[in-house]
């Protein structure tokens, strides 16, 4: 693979027009990735998901250069129906459409030729890979005091032409003071066996509000890694919801720094997995100043031989008195060969805090099934009702009414 990487990297530099600074950073990042390679089980954060093995098992002849010179067709049919929204459309890693029809023009700014920086987390080789191979690095800025009228949907679409490629995207979003944004990331994949590596940097300034919904619901054989780095200033709120269901492998990593007083972060997630799917959510919530709050709720339903992993960490700095941290993960295992692994971690250096975590996994409650069957439901219906109720608990945490209904429809949960 190393040779392929080198060839593809030179090809990318030849065919693109990067600034001198970026070429330099790219080279450094590239060398760093070559040195480390894809993460494997020996690294603590990849203990339950050996990416190196997963890639070599699922993807043959992975290549890293992606020709972005030709435009791709957009399949309009996959656009979300019944919800007015702004669009950012990526097809096979190339930006095809930027559309903010509902918004005031001078309140939103999009930059696309930014200086790259060295990743702060020097242990994460995938950030270096992203840095080395990303071709356009976008930044979306929502200006001071502006709230978007309609949600923004970022479509990550791949079509049949894409096979065994590595796609690297990098998007920064800056919410200036008092601004707010509802962001839906929607994946639709018709491609097979690609490695998709997306890196989001979300910067929330004072009093800003971000609602972020990540939806991956359509079955496909791609391997995906999302790294979301969030930093929050005073009074800012972030609400994240993950629907982790479609792809063969996904690892959603959320690193959230609560830098300002009264900042709060909510992370809710749902795994709905079948067949050989293997998904992971890893969170790292850092309470760095006093009076911050975080809440995490993750639930999973596993079928066939699927596997789900939740690694959640709450870190409380010695300055962060009055922290309120909560974390709960639950899973229902429906088959003999399913597996749920959890590592709910607390690292606490302040004494006046309220932190707790819980984790539970097991089968459906037989008594509940019996009760429902005695009321006339058949076994299948009873099971479905219980599972829906189990998952609805998380979906109900979504604060936006319209989007909540949309997600319920996608998950086909009845109200």
């Amino acid at each position: 693979m190393e040779e392929q990487l080198k060839i593809d990297f030179e090809k990318l530099l030849e065919n693109s027009n990067f600034s001198k600074n970026n070429v330099e950073i790219k080279r450094k990042s590239f060398n760093n990735f070559i040195e480390k390679g894809f993460p494997n089980r020996r690294e603590e954060s990849w203990k339950f998901s050996d990416l190196n093995q997963i890639i070599s098992k699922n993807i043959k002849n992975l290549s890293f250069y992606n020709d972005l010179s030709k435009p791709n067709k957009i399949d309009q049919s996959i656009f979300i129906d019944g919800l007015e929204h702004n669009k950012l459309v990526f097809v096979n890693g190339r930006i095809e459409k930027i559309e903010f029809d509902y918004e005031e023009k001078n309140k939103i700014e999009i930059l696309d030729d930014l200086f790259l920086e060295k990743p702060k987390n020097a242990n994460n080789s995938l950030l270096f890979l992203n840095n080395a191979f990303v071709s356009k690095y976008f930044k979306l800025i929502v200006k001071k005091n502006y709230s978007l009228q309609k949600p923004l949907v970022i479509y990550n679409i791949t079509n049949k032409d894409l096979v065994s490629k590595s796609i690297n995207l990098k998007v920064d979003i800056l919410l200036e003071e008092n601004s707010s944004l509802k962001l839906i990331e929607f994946s639709d994949d018709k491609s097979t066996t690609n490695f998709i590596n997306i890196n989001y940097n979300l910067d929330l300034q004072k009093n800003s509000f971000l609602k972020n919904y990540k939806i991956d619901n359509n079955s496909n054989s791609n391997i995906k890694y999302y790294f979301n780095n969030i930093s929050q200033d005073n009074n800012s709120i972030s609400e994240i919801f993950l629907l982790s269901s479609g792809s063969e492998f996904i690892k959603n990593e959320i690193n959230c720094n609560l830098n300002g007083k009264y900042a709060s972060a909510f992370v809710n997630g749902v795994f709905i997995l079948n067949k050989t799917k293997h998904h992971e959510i890893k969170t790292n919530i850092n309470h760095l100043v006093e009076n911050t709050k975080s809440y995490q709720l993750i639930k999973g339903v596993l079928e066939d031989t699927s596997k789900a992993v939740y690694q959640g960490k709450i870190f409380v700095d010695s300055k962060a008195q009055k922290t309120d941290g909560y974390q709960l993960s639950k899973a229902i295992l429906l088959n003999d060969n399913t597996e749920f692994n959890a590592k709910p971690e607390l690292e606490i250096y302040a004494d006046d805090v309220k932190c707790s975590h819980g984790s539970a996994s097991g089968s459906l409650n037989e008594d509940s099934i019996f009760y429902l069957m005695s009321r006339g439901l058949n076994y299948k219906e009873a099971k479905k009702l219980l599972i829906n109720g189990f998952l609805l608990d998380v979906v109900e945490k979504i604060t936006d009414f319209e989007i909540k209904n949309l997600i319920k429809n996608i998950m086909s949960l009845k109200q």
Binding site: I348, Y349, S363
Partner: protein
């Protein structure tokens, strides 16, 4: 200067040394030293071969470094691996023949062997530095067929049992410190409870590191045969020294069908002074195997000492319907560090495990609970319940929880809970209002916090443990 020393002594009441001439093996870790140890213990050849095998393997092993408390590199060539009181090389027949100075030491420790023999009815095996000095209460145990002796004695007298079970729970191929122990272990206790026997008294071992620059590498092997029961207590202390001393023991428990082993530890090795200088590195491997059906192993530990405590008493629940329990109180003060917890490995059907862990950190200390619950796909209808609570005193210390939870079985249930809190002003105020001074109040509240675990300890130990909890936290309030 002298006053200072006295002050120091007050803090750690076990901080005395005893002037007893020691026989030591040459410093360092090599073939000759292992041969020396084996020879000194008059071991048969198979035992020496076993040690050599471990030593060969050790050469290819690396010290683990994933733990939270980091420590300066240990120079394994700078440690005496064998140190024995000279007068014990000819082993006394009974307790009255023991070196009076040794007896004095134990008296200071609060375990006068003779008195204990008479009054308490607890059989004690005391391990001084590396050699088991005396085992009390032999006759009474012989009557019911319980074998309770030092492991070196067992190697000579009961080789068939030792051969069968030694290394069956912690194999030669285990991690670095366990393998190091297998190569150089010097003494420890051996217990065998015959089928159907309920051991008539609590068995107890006392460990003490006396000589400087020595490590203590004891090995304990407890076998509870079918339908038997034993409760075993272990206590440890060491004198105060500025250097760090290594303690790498292995404890293996085997419970056969319907047998039950209850293992309690009160660990009070020297924790170092208030600036974090000196103290014991307590890197112990403890593992129990519930081999038979309906067997049960229960670990209870009170960890108040050591500069660094790094251990995970574990249960491998192999037999169907077997039960594993883990009750722990860990207290760190000043610059102490602890990374402790348990592993519950469910292999058999209907296996149950329960984990209750209470961590208290004060001063500049750092405490980590790290645990593993692993339910394999064959362990149908297994359940686990875990509760780990931490109490923080001040904002210079840390409390961490790192549980690993693996469930591969849909018919099994796992529940895990953890909380972190501090002593509230209201609680303190209430107690003080009732006439307690702040330290007493904290002691009372902490004891209440630990109650669930303290209840699991045998009577004699519970009292000592409760006092220890108080002593360990002295000066941490305000």
């Amino acid at each position: 200067m002298r006053e200072k020393q006295i002050d120091k002594l007050k803090d750690y009441k076990y901080g005395f040394t005893t002037d007893i001439e020691n026989i030591r093996a040459p410093k360092g870790l090599n073939k000759e030293v292992i041969e020396f140890i084996s020879k000194a213990k008059k071991e048969p050849k198979w035992m020496l071969d076993w040690r050599m095998k471990a030593f060969e393997r050790l050469k290819n092993l690396k010290e683990p470094n994933w733990q939270k408390p980091k420590y300066p590199k240990i120079d394994y060539q700078d440690i005496y691996y064998y140190s024995a009181p000279k007068s014990a090389s000819e082993k006394p027949k009974n307790i009255d023949e023991l070196d009076p100075k040794l007896l004095e030491t134990y008296k200071k420790l609060g375990i006068p062997l003779q008195e204990q023999q008479r009054l308490n009815g607890i059989a004690v095996d005391a391990v001084f530095d590396s050699v088991s000095v005396a085992t009390t209460f032999k006759d009474k145990l012989n009557e019911v067929g319980v074998i309770f002796c030092s492991i070196s004695e067992a190697i000579q007298k009961h080789p068939e049992l030792v051969k069968k079970y030694l290394g069956s729970v912690i194999p030669l191929t285990d991690h670095y410190f366990a393998t190091l122990n297998s190569a150089v272990f010097t003494d420890g206790s051996f217990v065998y409870i015959p089928p159907g026997v309920k051991c008539p008294m609590e068995l107890s071992t006392y460990f003490r590191i006396n000589a400087s620059q020595t490590g203590q590498f004891e090995r304990t092997l407890i076998i509870a045969d079918k339908g038997s029961y034993v409760s075993y207590l272990e206590g440890c202390t060491a004198p105060m020294r500025d250097e760090n001393q290594l303690h790498a023991a292995n404890v293996e428990l085997v419970a056969l069908d319907n047998a039950e082993i209850k293992y309690s530890t009160v660990q009070n090795w020297y924790p170092g002074d208030e600036n974090g200088k000196g103290g014991i590195y307590n890197f112990v491997t403890k593992r129990g195997l519930c081999k038979g059906t309906n067997s049960k192993i229960s670990w209870t530990q009170v960890e108040t000492g050591s500069a660094i405590t790094w251990k995970y008493p574990s249960c491998v629940l192999q037999g169907d319907n077997s039960i594993g329990e883990f009750y722990s109180i860990a207290i760190t003060n000043n610059y102490q560090k602890a990374d402790t917890g348990t592993k519950m490995i469910h292999l058999g059907k209907n296996t149950k495990s329960k984990i209750i862990s209470k961590g208290i950190s004060a001063g500049f200390s750092d405490m980590t609970y790290r645990g593993l619950v692993d339910i394999s796909s064959k362990a149908k209808h297994s359940t686990n319940y875990t509760q780990c609570d931490s109490l923080l005193m001040g904002n210079k210390c840390g409390a961490h929880t790192v549980p690993y939870i693996k469930n591969k079985n849909p018919e099994s249930n796992i529940a895990h809970e953890a909380t972190t809190s501090k002593i509230s002003e209201e609680q303190l105020h209430y107690c003080q209002q009732r006439g307690l001074n702040p330290e007493e109040a904290v002691g009372l509240i902490v004891n209440g916090f630990c109650k669930e675990v303290l209840q699991q300890l045998p009577m004699e130990f519970a009292v000592e443990a409760q006092k220890l909890v108080g002593i360990s936290l002295e000066g941490s309030v305000g």
